[in-house]
Symmetry: C2
Subunit: 354 residues, 2 copies
Amino acid sequence: MQAMRLCSGPQAGPSGRCARSRTRCSAAVAGGKVYIDPVKKECTAFAPATVANLGPGFDWLGCAVEGEGDTVVARVLPDQPGKVVIDKIEGDNGRLSLVAAENCVGIAAIETLKLMGQPSCGVGLTLHKGLPLGSGMGSSAASAAAAAWAVNGLFGSPLTKDQLVTAGLASEAAVSGYHADNVGPSLLGGFVLVRSCDPLELVRLPYGGNGPLYFVLVNPLFEAPTKQMRAVLPRDVPFKSMIHNSTQGGALVAAILQGDARLLGSALDSDCIVEPVRAPLIPGMAAVKAAAKAAGAFGCTISGAGPTAVAVVSDADVGARVADAMADAFRTEGRLEVNSKAVVRLDPEGAKFV
Amino acid sequence: MQAMRLCSGPQAGPSGRCARSRTRCSAAVAGGKVYIDPVKKECTAFAPATVANLGPGFDWLGCAVEGEGDTVVARVLPDQPGKVVIDKIEGDNGRLSLVAAENCVGIAAIETLKLMGQPSCGVGLTLHKGLPLGSGMGSSAASAAAAAWAVNGLFGSPLTKDQLVTAGLASEAAVSGYHADNVGPSLLGGFVLVRSCDPLELVRLPYGGNGPLYFVLVNPLFEAPTKQMRAVLPRDVPFKSMIHNSTQGGALVAAILQGDARLLGSALDSDCIVEPVRAPLIPGMAAVKAAAKAAGAFGCTISGAGPTAVAVVSDADVGARVADAMADAFRTEGRLEVNSKAVVRLDPEGAKFV
């Protein structure tokens, strides 16, 4: 079926072939079904890396950062309504499954098509991994966000980013865990507070003012032991620790909305529940945190589930020194090679067409 | 010693009697000591009620509200440097001690004089209680804030409100508990996040935008069992509950700064740790909460340590209906008389001279 733009608005066309749709889209009725048609043959989208588990923001706060990310090309598969095929994956060293239902881009695409209703065609996907797997920088979420946005673009963007987060969440649930604090910001950009996953309720937190804010991300060559990372989380926490983390989480939100990089770094640095049990599983992490602050960072913690460490600064030159100090600490104290280090800004846009 | 204004600035006067002071004040050197002199014979200050323990903001978030409050008149006690005497207390039904070191206004005044350095006189205090004792509306904090502000005013306001919070905190520690989430907002006004008490670190949270925000406060005739209120707090909490309360605390801060009354009420309503164990100690509280929401409130919780219940609305008429519904629930379900009900705005100013 060729791309057709039959209507734009609630009016039915003269032939009765155009049905009202919940969303801005192209739609056609065939055999009693309302089909949504693609508006182009191919669509490419990029989605950025994200930093989640922001200290006391564990499980509910994340942000998108500029720089590397994942790219997905979605193409029309004619006459295979709803079908999703993964054509190719590059940059994963052959580690990711090409079975759509087992892969984060495949699942995100399937869920996006479901959200649309009745797509008149299927979708073929090519994934270019820009982010290392298991790095703690939201690799699977970036893939899912790019896939959802590319597939949505293929059909003329009938769905909003907010709506697509549910598609990304389904993908994350299958491959990484039921949490939206990576895929939310990877789609939406900026800081995102995940107030609830079911029903999904997100609160966007624009960074206040125009003051400078940089994240220093240092990724060591180390596979964080995912199962152990989960296993060390305590079943119960002292009441006082709960109050402490709630307070610092509140301060973190205030710092974001008031554009206070110093408070942001300091609050992110002050988790007394998760970081203390997870940091020992990443060789050198304690030294990296100390080195970051000694070099001028406002604070430092684990990015996502690690092993990447993230620090906050308000000056790019200071950021470069902090990155060097963190990398040195990973090498000398952690005996780890460093895969990458970067000083990046917040990405206010999130997923975008390229 | 009479009030003298000897200098304003770091310059020494021609007679050498004017010494440099840390703070804006009147100062005189006598017998080698730098004295700070009063600038008037009497000074009167008012400080407002506050709502603390704002649901998931337990122990770290409070706000000042318009309406009732406490008033303190501070007068000069000549030739009794540093001495604090309580002249009179009205409106307490004789329940408060007239011994300065045992009373919140006395302690706040003593600490304020200490912060100033070497006052050349003492202070006599009269307290007019506008707030009921043990109501959960920050009664002791309002007394302390009014005392600190009145004494400070007597000496030409050498100290800032931020500095005076430490005096108020010392008072609260002695009579109510070591927490600044009432005395902070009673002095400063608006919403205040207490990031740390030692060292004291406060973050002011201005309510965003100009949208309407009202608090409905219903105070039943009931003495909340303070010891039990403390005793029921759990020693440990489930990790998931910690995440939930941190998330909702973050959402509460976002709601304040973004001026979202609906989210504010909803987040304040969602504490899953403290309110569930404290509400059963206040007769009818569960029914009051349900009645508030059924009548249109965005959320409802316990104010402070109770027994006052607080609900959030964005319309004064809705607020009046919510107040009636809450009062009815206290009467019918809690079998309690209602002492007062009010629909009030945020007090952005805090302590002030009258």
